[in-house]
């Protein structure tokens, strides 16, 4: 037997009125064509930012966005950029301000402007951390908003780079709109554009100790990071670079960047003596350089390298003599490539 087919595009009904079901819903609109989405909140509400409007869906129904489910936040001249949840409530960021979205649902949401010093400069320009607050980017640094205060946390240690100054090899920030913030394993990551087009420098802060370090990635050429996320399945950070590669970073199974040894550098403060100059005679390096490709220790007097030594082996602390010289300020710098651990440097 052969067959022919025909589509079914009609039907015939004689159901009685009493047997009819629920009333048709007219609030199942598609989501608005917004620029940023975040959620869900504790009750399953998701939020979309479109210009200076904040839309929200029906709770637990991310595909149903009633046309009237929105509130106006601020003025159109300052559209929303991003949003995060903090203490269970949504917070909405413009370039200049933070808005606390008070309320629990349709008809109850109210945007309350917070007395924050700034807002966020990019879609990844704010992250919330329980017990700390919301880290967010201003035009002049990273701020920590905790509800009762908004503190520029980069002021004590990093202030000059946010004015565009390059300090001790640390490039100044040239554009905050391509910067991003991310948290992973008790660290806050801040990626910013220094000399490239996208974030080619990363500042990493240990959230427990507050210690800050500077990362760059290079696999033969500088890696500029445009996008970042956490791979929760595999417990790792993924980034998307500006050359079309997805990479895993901060992975302890790798000791290089796609085959290129990692360059490192550490320089001490300038030690000074109150009434006399430094006349260094020797240095001792407590460094494990047994796995590094290269490792060099250098003594700096008044900001210039006075003498340098090649470091090898593991924590070989023999005395390394220094050529004659003196200066008001003395510092040490250890640099190299590959895995190394720096414990201490001593001089006399």
């Amino acid at each position: 037997m052969s067959t022919s087919t025909a589509p079914l595009d009609g039907f015939d009904t004689s159901i009685s009125d009493g047997a009819l079901g629920t009333e048709v819903s007219i609030t199942n609109n598609r989501p608005p064509l917004g620029s940023f989405v975040f959620g869900p909140a504790y009750d399953g509400t998701c939020f979309i930012i479109k210009d200076n409007l904040l839309y929200f869906c029906k709770p637990k129904q991310p595909e149903a966005w009633p046309a009237l489910n929105f509130i106006e936040v601020g003025v159109p001249q300052f559209p929303g950029i991003t949003g995060v949840f903090f203490n269970g409530q949504p917070h909405y960021f413009t370039k200049n301000n933070i808005w606390f979205i008070q309320g629990t649902g349709a008809g109850l949401f109210n945007p309350i402007p917070m007395s924050s010093k700034t807002g966020a400069q990019s879609v990844r320009g704010a992250v919330a951390i329980t017990g700390r607050g919301i880290f967010h980017t201003g035009p002049d640094g990273i701020y920590l908003y905790s509800g009762s205060s908004d503190v520029r946390i980069t002021e004590p240690t990093l202030e000059p780079i946010f004015r565009g100054e390059t300090v001790e090899g640390l490039p100044g920030v040239t554009d905050m709109t391509t910067s991003w913030l991310w948290t992973f394993k008790n660290h806050l990551y801040f990626g910013y554009r220094g000399t490239g087009t996208y974030a080619d420098n990363i500042l990493v802060m240990n959230l427990e100790t507050g210690r800050i370090t500077h990362y760059t990635y290079n696999d033969g050429s500088a890696i500029e990071i445009r996008a970042i996320t956490t791979d929760k399945t595999n417990d790792r950070i993924l980034v998307g670079d500006a050359t079309g590669f997805v990479r895993v970073i901060e992975d302890n199974t790798y000791t290089d960047d796609s085959g290129t040894a990692i360059t490192f550098e550490l320089q001490s403060k300038d030690f000074t003596l109150q009434t006399r100059k430094h006349f260094p005679r020797w240095l001792k390096y407590d460094v494990d350089a047994s796995s590094s490709t290269t490792c060099t220790g250098a003594l700096l007097l008044d900001g210039a390298i006075h003498h340098s030594h090649t470091i090898s082996g593991s924590r070989t602390t023999r005395r390394r003599l220094v050529g004659t010289g003196n200066g008001n300020r003395e510092a040490v710098r250890i640099s190299g490539t590959g895995p190394a651990t720096i414990y201490a440097v001593e001089s006399e």
């Binding site: 004689s14 991310p62 240690t157 320089q267 403060k269 300038d270 300020r329």
Partner: protein, 295 residues
């Protein structure tokens, strides 16, 4: 002088005024252990050949990496959608209503996409763009003025996980006098739609209530014995496509039985296999008995 890396990078204070354990340079060294500065962990490419260079957003779901890059979306660096607007994306992960499967919901100001199982769909269901048309059907039971709207639905198992807004009502309401209501609707072009729901008014009413639900894009099969039965050109054939003892209802796209024919519903036996049809009735919960109007 003794230097232990116990402090932090500090370039904001004069280099002679910072704490002894602080440093003015600290590049690619991690400081998670007090008194030690170790070369940071490494990195590696996950794709051997580059995808689009403008990676706007990354999202990981169930071990798969979704990259929104350029005009495309990639699943583990394999393109699963293209031709999209090149703009900054943002995305969340959440399950659809009444479902436990995680989806990615993403937008970029122009495009709205839902990703489930590595397949990209539109985010949300658009309302049907064409109003239904109504005529009196072949059955009986309804009297009064009736109008109809219909929606598109996505179901997972027996649960509705998304439903569109309704279509416009039919331009002309149907005036019935102990008749049934025949409805023609437009099938969805969106592949995620699984069902179409018919809502109609009460007699002379204005509010629309669920009447019936039918599987979307069902194609019904008619059987015939000889190839020549498939031809429409020979006037000797009784009706429509093939040799069928039915009357073609062009309005409703159905093949109706003649009044003189015995209905399956009226038969005492349960033989329903001699004429082909859908393997499962698309009609729920009510509507015309599929055995009375046989497509």
């Amino acid at each position: 002088m003794k230097f232990n890396p116990t402090g932090t990078l500090n370039v904001a204070v004069d280099s002679s005024d910072i704490q002894d354990g602080d440093f003015t340079r600290c590049k690619n060294l991690r400081l998670d252990q007090r008194g030690q500065a170790k070369t940071r962990d490494g990195s590696a490419k996950l794709n051997s050949s580059a995808i689009n260079t403008a990676i706007w957003w990354l999202e990981e779901m169930a071990g798969s990496r979704f990259a929104f890059a350029g005009d495309s979306i990639y699943d583990d660096e394999t393109s699963i959608a293209s031709g999209l607007t090149e703009a900054q994306w943002a995305a969340i992960q959440y399950n659809a209503y009444n479902d436990t499967t995680d989806n990615i919901f993403a937008l970029n100001g122009t495009d709205r996409k839902r990703i489930e199982g590595g397949v990209v769909y539109e985010w949300g269901l658009a309302a049907p763009g064409t109003a239904p048309t109504l005529t009196d059907g072949g059955g009986s039971g309804l009297t009064g003025q009736f109008n109809v709207k219909y929606t598109y639905v996505r179901k997972v198992g027996g649960s509705i996980v998304a439903e569109s807004n309704p279509s416009d009502a039919a331009d002309t309401a149907a005036a019935l006098d102990n008749q049934s209501l025949a409805v023609s609707f437009t099938q969805p072009s969106d592949s995620q739609v699984t069902h179409v729901r018919l809502y109609r008014t009460l007699a002379n009413g204005v509010i629309y209530y669920l009447d019936s639900e039918v599987a979307a894009n069902v194609t019904l099969t008619n059987g015939y014995v000889f190839a020549w039965e498939d031809a429409d050109t020979d006037p000797d054939y009784i009706a429509g496509t093939g040799y069928k003892f039915t009357i073609t209802d062009a309005t409703n796209g159905s093949e109706n039985t003649h009044s003189w024919e015995e209905l399956f519903a009226d038969r005492e036996d349960t033989d329903e296999g001699t004429t082909s049809g859908p393997s499962g009735s698309p009609f729920t919960p009510g509507g015309l008995d599929p055995l009375e109007v046989y497509p």
